[in-house]
């Protein structure tokens, strides 16, 4: 009776010790964090005596993973952005238009003259003067289609062309739209990540959420607005031919053209061609600089194909104005003085030094393929986070002590066993959280406090069972044995059901709620482990040593 194999005992204590070791770094949070940061810096930037000294603050043979503190505890900014995937369709159509023109031009004899008609931005509507040539026109346009490059859209073509009388409509096919949406979101994600990395904050979380959303969490940043300035700008740079200049925002631009305002001259509008000569995608570098008058500007360099197109265009259009357009605003519209062959140039405007630096960062990181719409934003100041940590700490300690005292008063020595298990339990939760890189949030602290209260439940079930067995007149060893055996099904059923709710919370929740689900779920696992293994080993070891004739629970 009351046998536990040696290997089981060793295993149980080994798990406890491992848990304690994993949890230990969290007791010296700041010190370990500094040491970890310094170690990363050494890898990235090389060794310095100061960095080595900070690394030595924490012995390297000890585990050094820490529990991540959530935004609500550390302070920082949280943004949920939706990528306006449909933005891309219009750009695709504008890019397609010259191609369509080239395809139809040699067949004027059959299709007649054609003009692009005003219509929805994500379509090309074409009016041809000889409707009887429509089938030939459709054939030509359909010849421009290419297969969709995606797993799900295999076999489908990227554009759809349809005819209605003398109107030919071209638009992206549904399969292509899906593929394009996915590409757009992935590109946006990558560019947001690059921009945040350029600014260099620690441990940002940048994840895709659902089909077209991006979740961004940056600890330590001052406010969500600051973050929005970095990632919210599309930074779509184009070099476009200028058609005209005026002061009417609603002027009719003509098909294939658009009216855009000037960035720093209010009331001035430019009419430019929608299809640009070169775009920001062809940039290989951008650096903040100063122009010949000593005003802040941005230097840029094109890749070879961009340089060639830019060179050709400038050679052919000497004397015409030419617009540098950033996010549909004309930054400047110089007149082309001479052929510019080298593929590099300078953007001047009324910039401050900060603006030119920011613009260079944005251009380097690349343009967002589509605009972002911010659906949710949260800023938590570091003071509030610290207050929450402090309050949470005190509350946890008080809760802990109250439960410990209560258990001891109620169950005596067995209560002490349960208390040791409870302390181990908390250590195990922190150890597991550090191990899986979990995040501790304010509701997460509440989850731990709740676990403190509920963790004793499994022990209480066992102890009450032992009491009943003793009352029924069984001997101490037999009572303990029976107590554990009979309480097991209740413990398992009760905890499995609670665990189910924790899993659902984790799957459905986000942010802080998820943090709560994690600590609750871990707490259930560790409390079952400590109750049915750890306290049992303790009781058995005590029993073997003392061999009491009677026990009181």
């Amino acid at each position: 009776m009351l046998q536990i194999d040696l290997w089981k005992r060793v295993l149980i204590w080994l798990v406890c010790v491992t848990g304690l070791l994993l949890a230990l770094p969290n007791a010296f949070y700041t010190r370990v964090e500094q040491a970890n940061d310094a170690a990363i810096e050494i890898i990235a930037k090389g060794e310095t005596p100061e960095r080595l000294e900070i690394v030595d603050q924490w012995p390297s043979w000890m585990p050094s993973s820490l529990v991540n503190l959530g935004l609500d505890l550390r302070g920082g900014a949280h943004l949920l952005a939706e990528v306006k995937v449909a933005d891309v369709y219009a750009a695709r159509m504008d890019a397609m238009w010259p191609e369509v023109r080239e395809a139809l031009r040699p067949e004027r004899a059959t299709v007649g003259t054609f003009r692009r008609q005003p219509g929805p931005e994500d379509q090309i509507r074409l009016k041809i003067s000889k409707p009887e040539g429509m089938s030939r026109a459709l054939e030509l346009v359909r010849g421009l289609a290419t297969p969709v490059t995606s797993l799900t859209g295999a076999g489908a073509m990227d554009i759809e062309a349809s005819a209605d009388g003398d109107i030919l409509t071209i638009q992206l096919s549904d399969a292509e739209k899906l593929a394009s949406d996915d590409r757009t979101v992935r590109q946006s994600l990558e560019i947001v990540r690059r921009r945040i990395d350029e600014v260099g904050t620690r441990e940002p979380t940048i994840q895709r959420q659902g089909a077209d959303r991006i979740l961004i969490q940056v600890p330590g940043i001052g406010s969500a607005s600051e973050l929005k300035k970095i990632i919210g700008t599309t930074a779509q740079l184009t070099f476009s031919p200028v058609v005209g200049r005026g002061s009417d925002a609603d002027a009719n631009p003509g098909v294939g053209n658009k009216v855009v305002p000037s960035l720093d001259e209010p009331g001035v509008y430019f009419t430019i061609e929608s299809a640009p000569v070169v775009t920001g995608e062809d940039l290989v570098d951008a650096q903040p600089a100063f122009d010949q008058n000593g005003r802040p500007a941005v230097n840029f360099r094109f890749n070879t194909s961009g340089a060639r197109r830019f060179g050709d265009y400038t050679a052919e259009n000497i004397g015409s104005p030419f617009a540098i357009v950033l996010d549909d605003e004309v930054v400047s519209a110089p007149v082309i003085q001479s052929h510019i062959p080298g593929g590099s140039g300078i953007i001047t405007g009324n910039f401050t030094i900060e603006e030119s630096t920011n613009l260079a960062v944005l251009l380097r990181a690349g343009a967002l393929p589509a605009g972002l719409e911010f659906l949710e934003e949260r800023t938590i100041g570091p003071e509030l986070g610290q207050d929450s940590i402090d309050a949470g700490k005190i509350a946890t300690i008080v809760a802990f002590v109250a439960v410990l005292v209560f258990m001891m008063l109620s169950y005596g020595l067995f209560g002490v066993f349960a208390n040791v298990a409870l302390i181990l339990n908390i250590a195990l939760i922190f150890g597991m959280l550090s191990l899986i890189g979990g995040t501790l949030t304010l509701p997460g602290i509440a989850g731990i406090v709740l676990t403190v209260g509920m963790a004793v439940d499994a022990n209480v079930l066992v102890f009450e069972r032992i009491r009943e067995e003793l009352k029924a007149g069984r001997g101490p060893a037999r009572s303990i044995e029976e107590g554990y055996a009979k309480a097991l099904s209740a413990i398992l059923d009760a905890n499995v059901t609670t665990f189910i709710t924790a899993v659902i919370l984790f799957a459905m929740g986000s942010g802080p709620v998820r943090g709560f689900a994690i600590t609750l779920g871990l707490g259930i696992m560790t409390s079952v482990f400590t109750a049915i293994f750890v306290t049992r080993v303790m009781i058995v070891m005590w029993f073997e040593r003392r061999r009491p004739k009677t026990i009181e629970v």
Binding site: A224, R378, T379, A395, A399, G453, D457, A490, I504, F516
Partner: protein, 322 residues
């Protein structure tokens, strides 16, 4: 000498007035539901969109002056409340400003926040925004759906688990208790107009978990006693089981409440609503596992002989007193 909250041997009669208890529960549920229908929940921005700003200043909060300043910005419906908490420092004055969702689907813009900050700074110099949270109406709608779905899924999952582990009568009893707890919690939130946000949904699900924990422990004992005492009536077995587990029920509730109350008092105002929901849930959950779950079980009846196939199939009410 041991601290004993419950005498070693109890024989309370929990079912003598079972109609009364069910009646009280039903009445409370009706009141809770009516309150919910009549005045509705005080939804936080998570669920209805909008912006909350938590301000901190070293000078006392003058709600009137704040309101006067913000009203000039014409942001629509604005509510301002001062927050008091024992954990605050002496010269720490905190207010919560809530602004309704703006017209489009987006969250509030940074410029607007800066304007509000500048405007408030004029009436309360040195005011700091320690947290700003803004949720666009587009997301908040989805959050409501997800939250409701989470609660329904949790209850359904539990129903299936208990059905598999016990019998369907147990599952129904447990779920009735859960619905009872959820309705009463929503009712108390609507009656007291406490802010109802995402964290409260987490609390609701925890209450579901806790209440279930309690119910399952009682049911486990019922199952055991049904096998042990074949001669006793179902009412007697239920009563015996509840009495036998009473000490444990009280112990666990007290330790959990001890922990929660310390968090309620000392944990700061940010999570007070959340903790309140859990305290309420523990009390209601404990009550419901005895007076709702078990009573429903008594009403539905249980197949007594677990080893043989039932001979009363099709008439599940027949063997209440078998």
């Amino acid at each position: 000498m041991r601290l004993k909250l419950v005498p070693a041997e109890t024989s309370f009669d929990f079912f003598g007035k079972w109609k009364l208890w069910l009646g009280i529960s039903a009445l409370m549920m009706v009141v809770g539901f009516a309150s919910f229908m009549y005045q509705g929940l005080n939804f936080g921005i998570d669920f209805r969109g909008g912006t909350t700003i938590r301000t901190e200043s070293t000078q006392a909060v003058d709600v009137g002056a704040y309101r006067g300043a913000i009203d000039t910005l014409e942001l629509g419906d604005v509510s301002i409340t001062e927050v008091f908490d024992p954990t605050f420092e002496e010269d720490q004055y905190v207010a919560m400003i809530r602004i309704q969702a703006q017209a489009d689907g987006e969250s509030i813009s940074g410029e607007v926040i800066e304007t509000i900050n500048a405007t408030l700074d004029a009436v309360a110099p040195g005011i700091k925004f320690v947290s700003v949270e803004s949720v666009g109406p587009k997301v908040s709608g989805e959050l409501v759906q997800t939250a409701v779905l989470a609660v329904v899924l949790a209850i359904a999952a539990v129903l299936i688990y208990i059905w598999l582990r016990f019998e369907w009568q147990f599952a129904l009893g447990a779920v009735a208790a859960l619905v009872h707890d959820v309705v009463l919690t929503i009712g108390v939130f609507s009656e007291l107009q406490i802010k109802f946000d995402l964290a409260i949904i987490a609390a609701l699900l925890t209450i579901v978990g806790y209440s279930l924990n309690d119910t399952v422990v009682v049911f486990d004992r019922v199952r055991e006693n049904l096998r042990k005492y074949k001669k006793k009536t179902l009412a007697e077995v239920l009563n015996l089981s509840i009495n036998e587990t009473l000490s444990r029920t009280v112990m666990t509730s007290v330790t959990t409440l001890l922990a929660l109350i310390s968090l309620y008092v000392l944990g700061g105002d940010v999570i007070r609503g959340f903790v309140f929901a859990m305290i309420w849930g523990v009390i209601v959950g404990t009550y419901s596992s005895i007076f709702v779950a078990s009573t429903i079980l008594l009403y539905l009846g249980v197949k007594r002989d677990w080893s043989k196939p039932s001979n009363t199939t099709g008439n599940q009410f027949a063997n209440i007193d078998a």
